[in-house]
């Protein structure tokens, strides 16, 4: 078993979710829950908070008909959030949010 110091630099949290056709958390680490916030939009809630809001995150979704891409966004309003990160899947054609069969998220940063 690995032991991580508070400022380790590996992946801190990840989740692999299905939003299309009924929400499902397939697999994850350091995730306490995932909130379905609307079409294509999810909050991944961390079990172990991040130390600060200066972390990095990425998300990716399955490609369909070559039109879908993914944007990972951090919620910074009203204050930095160290207990969750919101990420969205958006279509290239107009940028609307879109549900995905595979909506994956990873977070990198120091932990509290």
């Amino acid at each position: 078993m690995s032991s991580f110091s508070p400022n380790h630099h590996g992946i801190t949290c990840w989740s692999n979710n299905r939003q299309e056709g009924g929400f499902l958390v397939r697999d994850s680490f350091n995730t306490s829950s995932v909130s379905d916030m609307g079409t294509g939009s999810q909050n991944t809630n961390f079990a172990n908070n991040m130390a600060n809001a200066n972390y990095s995150a990425a998300s990716i979704v399955d490609r369909r008909s070559g039109v879908r891409t993914s944007h990972g966004t951090l919620e910074y309003n009203p204050s930095p959030q160290t207990n969750y990160c919101r990420h969205e899947a958006r279509n290239n054609n107009g940028g609307n949010t879109s549900d995905a069969a595979y909506h994956c998220f990873a977070c990198y940063g120091d932990i509290a």
Partner: protein, 140 residues
């Protein structure tokens, strides 16, 4: 053992538990209701006990984070050193995650106002067709 290490250990030891419950919540400033889905590994860890800290630890960290001069957490030791939660039933584990991950102003006042702000339901009660997902609201 630090919480992060306890989570690693729990994931190696425990079979994930896919709960039948989901938590629907909303507030006046939300465009649509949110649906909180407990994580299967977190459910397994909560039902086994000895992994997660008491939920008030997360509330304390939230208080720190709400300060205007917040830069980084300095009380992370609460996550690691506070005596851990004992084993819970499935329902108790879901309630723990409600108090941890649903905004406090919603679950603390879930039944005040004109209509409920939160409902715990079975996953099978949620619509499978998400065509109009952004129009979902809690029924009065």
């Amino acid at each position: 053992m630090r919480l992060f290490d306890r989570l690693i250990d729990a994931k190696q030891r425990l079979e994930p538990y896919q709960t039948q419950y989901a938590v629907v919540y909303e507030d006046a400033d939300m465009d649509t209701c949110a649906v909180m889905h407990p994580d299967p590994h977190a459910m397994a860890a909560l039902m086994a006990g000895g992994v997660f800290p008491p939920v008030w630890v997360y509330w304390e960290l939230a208080k720190d984070e709400a300060q205007p001069d917040f830069k980084k957490h300095t009380r992370g030791y609460l996550l690691h050193d506070t005596p851990r939660e004992p084993a819970k039933t499935e329902e108790e584990a879901v309630l723990y995650l409600v108090m941890k991950d649903v905004p406090q102003h919603i679950w603390r006042n879930w039944d005040s106002g004109n209509k409920p702000k939160m409902a715990i339901c079975k996953r099978e009660q949620l619509p499978v067709d998400r065509t109009f997902r952004n129009t979902w609201r809690l029924a009065a």
